[in-house]
């Protein structure tokens, strides 16, 4: 039984995403997560945080958000919290990736990655906060 945790605090700046990537990589490497799992986890957290920065707040103020990462045995869990407007990504319509280039809508790809690459997603609104829980079983 092993447990490793890390809390990442970010502000609503896109420049924070590269910083987030480095922290996720360090955390995964310390926990011996295999190379081919690190990239998908990185992209998923990037997409979730990018979405929050883009949509959560309508003002131009500085806001903060937080990602708590946990690896317990072979289960990776990320809990991402923001105090922006309510947004449940699980209610967003599935992207139809079988459509041709001409018909393909431009948005929605980020959430498609999140849903495809993770095993389990849960959303809840708690007080003034959006809480998104993402889980992935670590293999290989």
């Amino acid at each position: 039984m092993s447990l490793s945790e890390m809390t990442i605090s970010l502000t609503n700046q896109y420049e924070e995403i590269e910083h987030l990537s480095h922290l996720v990589e360090d955390f995964c490497e310390k926990n011996n997560v295999s190379e081919n799992m690190i990239y998908p986890l990185n992209v998923v957290l990037d997409e979730v945080v990018t979405n929050i920065i883009h949509y959560a707040w309508n003002d131009k103020e500085k806001h903060s958000l937080q990602a708590d990462l946990t690896i317990e045995d072979t289960m990776f869990t990320a809990v991402v919290e923001d105090d922006g407007q309510p947004f449940n990504p699980l209610e967003v319509e599935e992207l139809d990736i079988s459509t041709s280039v001409e018909e393909r809508r431009i948005g929605g790809l980020g959430l498609h990655f999140v849903k495809t690459l993770m095993d389990c997603l849960e959303y809840r609104r708690s007080g003034e906060k959006n809480i998104l829980i993402l889980k992935k079983k670590l293999t290989g």
């Binding site: 700046q13 896109y14 420049e15 995403i17 590269e18 990537s21 081919n36 990239y39 998908p40 990185n42 992209v43 990037d46 997409e47 990018t50 920065i53 883009h54 990736i97 079988s98 041709s100 280039v101 001409e102 393909r104 431009i106 948005g107 790809l109 980020g110 498609h112 990655f113 495809t116 690459l117």
Partner: protein
């Protein structure tokens, strides 16, 4: 992220280097879509030095493909690292974007 452009005959080769995310993707959007608007209709994207791409970058490829389709143009990608290729596959882009092994193969694909 940085971009290197080279014109080889009819083909404009775009080398994309480093990391393409929401913070860094703007120059790629401006340069690639600008080239298409400027009349470049044969684009080869060399991805050998592309280390990271998120949906913010992939959407630029989709917009470029839509524009080129309307102009009877073509876009081909080459020399992609496996983890990047996986993202294109999950996005469902593999059918829309020919992905070839090398720059030479890309040039050939664009001549056909």
């Amino acid at each position: 992220m940085h971009i290197e452009q080279e014109k080889l005959g009819e083909v404009l080769v775009f080398g994309v280097f480093g990391r393409v995310d929401a913070a860094t993707c703007k120059p790629l959007e401006v340069d690639m879509l600008g080239a298409i608007d400027g009349g470049e209709h044969r684009l080869l994207i060399d991805c050998s030095k592309l280390d990271y791409i998120s949906s913010a970058g992939l959407r630029i490829f989709l917009i470029a493909a839509k524009k080129l389709k309307a102009e009877n143009g073509q876009i081909v990608l080459c020399s992609m690292q496996p983890h990047i290729r996986t993202m294109f596959e999950i996005a469902g882009f593999s059918a829309a974007f020919p992905i070839v092994e090398s720059q030479d193969d890309g040039i050939k694909a664009l001549k056909e």
